[in-house]
């Protein structure tokens, strides 16, 4: 049960920081996403994010930071396994599942639905 509580507060806290950025700096959502992915990739590559992910589980993997963490985790693993070519094959390998799912569901949704007025 405490696993769920950990996921809640860490995940919630990461979103709270994002909200502060939106309200205080007027960053658009696209820029927030870019910022978070880059932060995730940096934190992941120096090993800090792994500690957070081990602690918070989905609280760390569901936010977009986790996506950045995945990218760098996979690059480092590929470099360790394959050497030089790993730099090129690593990052998108980790992102493949998420990006492919987004393209597929996005495409189907676009065929099925029309834009809705607010």
């Amino acid at each position: 049960m405490s696993e769920i509580l950990k996921a809640f507060w860490v995940g919630g806290f990461i979103c709270l920081i994002g909200q502060l950025l939106i309200d205080k700096t007027k960053l658009t959502s696209g820029r927030i996403l870019v910022l978070y992915v880059c932060i995730g990739a940096v934190l992941g590559s120096v090993g800090i994010y792994k500690i957070i992910a081990d602690y918070a589980g989905a609280g760390a993997t569901v936010p977009i930071i986790g996506f950045g963490h995945n990218l760098s985790k996979s690059v480092l693993k590929e470099v360790a396994d394959k050497g030089f070519t790993g730099i090129f094959t690593g990052s998108l390998k980790a992102a493949a599942g998420g990006i492919s799912a987004t393209i597929l569901f996005g495409f189907i949704a676009a065929l099925v639905f029309n834009p809705k007025e607010k």
Binding site: I22, K26, T28, S29, P115, K116, E117, K118
Partner: protein, 339 residues
């Protein structure tokens, strides 16, 4: 005979008459405080068309038909159509007037377009180049969001200083004779840019231009602000309106609270409709003037107004390149009866 007075103002020799006005407003606008004043309120902002852009053009076409009908004319009596909108290359207006086969001047003044159109139309009449002229402006919330901001289905929050683009079209028929309120003066605005870059705070970007035009108009006409029953700006919203009053005060001009207002404030109920700083877009000043203020001028409930549509002249490209937002405002002095 020289009709220009002062620095930027035209005084018409025989003031052109606004013989009719028509307005079509979107669904949300039709739920606001001005709902009983619009000619048509859309139940669906797509208006049975395939896209927002096509819907806007349909709205333009229908508003012109209503305005011409109300004036007791047919479209063939119209010498020129002056109109514009916010879409790329003025397509909203262009496709809207496509079937009329009348001479068309496509204008771009961003949200100040209604002022630009009415000013030029009145000049064409008083210059003797035309008998009956149409001036109008349109915008569409969904098409504007798509072009300038985000796709509609994006789940983000709108900043508190942002405004809500009006869906609709306001069109007037201006004539050299007939009965109705008359346009006595036009003060064409110049571009004023005080370096505001926030596209979510267009009221702040336009307020200095509105101030500049008001000050210039009063100086050119040697009038005091109290001369007018009402000074009505276009789409400054709550933020821009507050700034305008501060800027005017710096110039030593104090206007009573009830004698200065903004179409962007009038058109929505801020708290109930969650529109933050108010309404904006070409149609904001156009539908509010045509629907709400024109009848008041016609009946004499308002003796005269200074109508000042305001525009923020940026594009997504200029904003992307770090440019600030230039503002513009055109003042149209309208008298219920000319002495």
């Amino acid at each position: 005979m020289n009709k220009k007075i002062g620095n930027q103002t035209i005084k018409f020799a025989s003031p052109p008459v606004i013989i009719s006005a028509a307005s079509i407003a979107g669904k949300k606008e039709g739920e606001g405080p001005l709902k009983k004043y619009f000619d048509v309120i859309l139940s669906d902002n797509l208006k049975g068309e395939k896209s927002w852009e096509k819907a806007e053009s349909k709205i333009v076409e229908n508003t012109i038909k209503i305005a011409v009908y109300k004036a007791g004319l047919t479209i063939d009596d119209i010498d020129y159509i002056f109109g514009g909108d916010l879409l790329n290359q003025d397509t909203g207006s262009t496709f809207g007037v496509r079937n009329f086969r009348r001479p068309f001047f496509g204008l771009f003044g961003a949200c100040s377009t209604m002022g630009e159109a009415m000013g030029l139309a009145a000049m064409a009449i008083d210059g003797g180049f035309a008998k009956n002229v149409i001036a109008g402006a349109s915008s569409h919330f969904c098409a504007s969001e798509k072009q300038f901001r985000f796709p509609l289905d994006m789940g983000n929050q709108r900043p508190q200083s942002s405004t809500w683009t009006i869906t609709g079209d306001g069109t007037v028929v201006i004539s050299n004779k007939g009965s109705g309120p008359r346009i006595t003066h036009v003060t064409a605005g110049k571009i004023v840019d005080l370096g505001v870059k926030d596209a979510n705070n267009m009221g702040a970007a336009m307020a200095p231009a509105a101030c500049d035009t008001i000050v210039t108009h009063l100086k050119d006409t040697k009038r005091s602000p109290n001369y007018y029953d009402l000074i009505v700006t276009g789409d400054l919203g709550y933020v821009g309106h507050t700034l305008l009053k501060q800027l005017l005060a710096q110039e030593g001009i104090y206007i009573n609270e009830e004698k200065i207002t903004d179409c962007g404030i009038e058109i929505f109920n801020k708290t109930a409709q969650d529109t933050h700083s108010g309404g904006s877009g070409c149609a904001c000043s156009a539908v509010t003037f045509c629907g709400y203020f024109y009848p008041k001028l016609k009946t004499g409930e308002l003796k005269n107004i200074l109508f000042i549509p305001t525009g923020a002249l940026m594009s997504t490209t200029s904003s992307g390149q770090g440019e600030s937002i230039p503002g513009i405002a055109h003042a149209i002095a309208i008298e219920s009866r000319v002495k």
